[in-house]
């Protein structure tokens, strides 16, 4: 007999992973969609966000226990870092061969990874769950931690907000125009340089925020950057590089494949997600929801 509560539990677990990954991958996908740069350092921004959140919690703790303030501070810190990097480095390589773009962002992975090691050491760090979101709720025989529910809702909220901004606001119109034809947009008098910096700042903010939000459920360790970036790549490839909703559905597919893959073939769930990525690249390189470039 099929155990309903077990399956539902896996489903919820997959959904949590999915929404969490969406938070990370949406920024990666936005930057690729508009700037055509595949940013390896996105995972490093996520890691820096996690470390900054830990640091902020520690600095704040004598005065007030506020995880939310710490998370916000971490996300803002990472977006500042992202803005500086875009202005100083990334700006110089738009339009150069993709080999150089990949290597530049990989250089940032190396530098940020070691900087984090130098600043925060190599031992595991953790942040306790905010008191307001402790505990869990019973559903169909499984317990869903309230924090996980919060992550899911945040993911959905970001998805809706992102969609509204992209499709309804003047800024979103500019972003879509830049994705289609950046020279033409520039020729029409728009400040494409500022737009790119803005996009990169928003993307870094999302990476930093997700890094901060993961700290109550996962300990912070060196190497989390290179691990997460590959997962984020899988998600954006499934959905379609540069497609916002594609990234959303891509994360849901990824989360469920990983979650049920563990149930069916425990040691090959890692294999299955990479295989999924490869199959999609072979059959539809532009992803399930993207359009051919």
């Amino acid at each position: 007999m099929v155990d309903v509560s077990l399956l539902f539990g896996q489903f919820l677990g997959g959904l949590t992973t999915a929404m969490f990954l969406f938070l990370i991958a949406s920024g990666l996908s936005l930057v690729f969609g508009v700037m055509r740069v595949l940013n390896f350092a996105h995972g490093s921004f996520y890691m820096v966000g996690a470390y900054l959140a830990w640091q902020a919690v520690h600095w704040l703790s004598p005065m007030l226990q506020s995880f939310w303030l710490a998370a916000l501070a971490a996300a803002l810190g990472v977006s500042l870092l992202g803005g500086i990097i875009e202005r100083l480095l990334l700006r110089r390589i738009y339009g150069r061969e993709e080999l150089y773009q990949l290597l530049l962002t990989y250089a940032l992975v190396l530098i940020l990874g070691d900087a984090a090691k130098a600043l925060w050491g190599t031992q595991q760090l953790s942040v306790s769950r905010p008191a307001a979101l402790a505990g869990g709720i019973e559903m169909l025989g499984t317990t869903l931690p309230i924090y996980n529910l919060f992550i899911m809702l945040t993911g959905v909220a970001i998805a809706i907000a992102g969609w509204l901004v992209l499709s309804r606001s003047p800024a979103g119109r500019m972003v879509r125009a830049a994705a289609l034809d950046r020279e033409m947009l520039g020729a029409l008098g728009a400040n494409v340089g500022a737009l790119y910096t803005g996009m990169f700042v928003v993307s870094s903010f999302l990476a930093g925020l997700s890094g901060a939000l993961i700290t109550p459920i996962q300990s912070i360790v060196p190497g989390m950057d290179v691990e997460i970036i590959v997962e984020a790549f899988i998600v954006v490839v499934i959905g379609g590089l540069g497609s916002f909703w594609g990234t959303f559905w891509g994360s849901i597919i990824y989360g469920q494949v990983l979650s049920f893959g563990i149930l069916i073939l425990p040691s090959f769930s890692l294999f299955s997600v990479f295989a999924l990525m490869a199959v999609i690249l072979i059959v539809r390189p532009w992803g399930l929801f993207g359009r051919p470039l």
Binding site: Y106, L110, G113, V230, I282
Partner: protein, 329 residues
């Protein structure tokens, strides 16, 4: 008029000179020098094999480490688990890696640019997941420790070689294998086939329009590069006394790419220079600080913004500048 220095330089068989000089290391250097030289030779072979894709054909493979890994595992498993002699295990590693490159490459060459890079990355991560999880065959996260040295007993009947330590004897074997492989790759690059690859790099559309089977040529380059990476991997597994899943993890692909670019992708010997520089720099740096990745990242930034042609590219333009100065004076 005297024969100019450049034409004289061209007449010297540099491959042979490098080979003979490198061969003397076990006698003139310390044990540690031989250790470094072995590592440089293997890395150089790996980097040159990547450059067959990167520099010659213009394919940005972000998963070249997959074929290095297949080579290491095939050779390691054959020699350790099945006690197969090295003379069979090494060609088997090259064939295995070449076959893997044939299967994966078949799909990869259908994509271009960023999608090509992503698919090569995905395939290398598939190989990594298999190596990491298939405990019965690959040893999983424990890897395969204690891969034996090849049986080099025959060396004891050769004068000069008989007194060497086994690690030095293995260095001699490595050097011979690497030099033969490099010579073979140089022949390939300078052959009509290699010229076709360069044509594809310069302009794939035009190459296709003059009737070239672009995908076929790219696949052939992919397979050859994979096979030689497999040889490098097999040697590395023995040199490092074990094969581990870490060899196949994606940052290793980035590392060999940095080696290649650092040396310069426009020259055959560029990746060799890059490999030697990076290995020596790594040893120097790690004796002062543990933050080698930070140093490597900074080198990479300087490279990208100041010397995009790498060391070899920089040297060539410096020589050209000198020659022009002398000609003008």
């Amino acid at each position: 008029m005297k024969p100019s220095a450049t034409s004289l330089a061209r007449r010297i068989p540099w491959t042979l000179v490098v080979f003979v000089l490198a061969l003397t290391i076990p006698w003139v250097g310390s044990r540690y020098d031989t250790f470094l030289a072995t590592q440089i030779a293997i890395s150089a072979l790996f980097a040159v094999s990547l450059n067959l894709l990167l520099g010659t054909t213009g394919l940005v493979s972000f998963g070249h480490v997959a074929y290095f890994g297949i080579g290491s595992y095939v050779c390691g498993i054959l020699m350790k688990t099945y006690a197969v002699p090295f003379t069979i295990a090494l060609p088997a590693a090259a064939l295995g890696a070449g076959f893997g490159a044939l299967v994966f490459g078949f799909f990869c060459v259908r994509l271009t640019k960023i999608y090509f890079a992503m698919l090569t990355l995905a395939f290398s991560q598939i190989i990594w997941a298999i190596c990491f999880k298939w405990n019965d065959v690959t040893g999983g996260d424990q890897g395969l420790p204690d891969v034996p040295y090849p049986d080099l007993g025959w060396m004891s009947s050769i004068p000069f070689l008989e007194d060497l330590r086994i690690s030095d004897q293995f260095y001699v074997v490595t050097l011979v294998v690497v030099m033969l492989s490099l010579a073979a790759m140089q022949r390939i690059i300078n052959s009509p086939f290699g010229l076709m690859l360069k044509t594809i790099r310069e302009n794939p559309q035009r190459a296709a329009s003059i009737g070239l089977d672009v995908r076929g040529y790219e696949l052939a380059a992919f397979v050859v590069a994979g096979g030689f990476a497999g040889i490098a991997g097999a040697l590395f597994g023995i040199f490092n006394r074990g094969v581990f899943a870490d060899y196949v993890y994606w940052p290793k692909s980035a590392e060999v790419m940095i080696m290649t670019i650092l040396g310069g992708i426009d020259h055959f010997w560029g990746p060799v220079i890059g490999a030697a520089t990076l290995v020596l720099l790594n040893k120097e740096t790690t004796s002062y600080t543990e933050y080698w990745p930070f140093v490597l990242g900074s080198i990479l930034l300087v490279l990208l913004f100041v010397f995009p042609g790498g060391i070899a590219g920089g040297l060539t333009s410096a020589m050209g500048w000198l020659r022009r100065r002398r000609g003008g004076a």
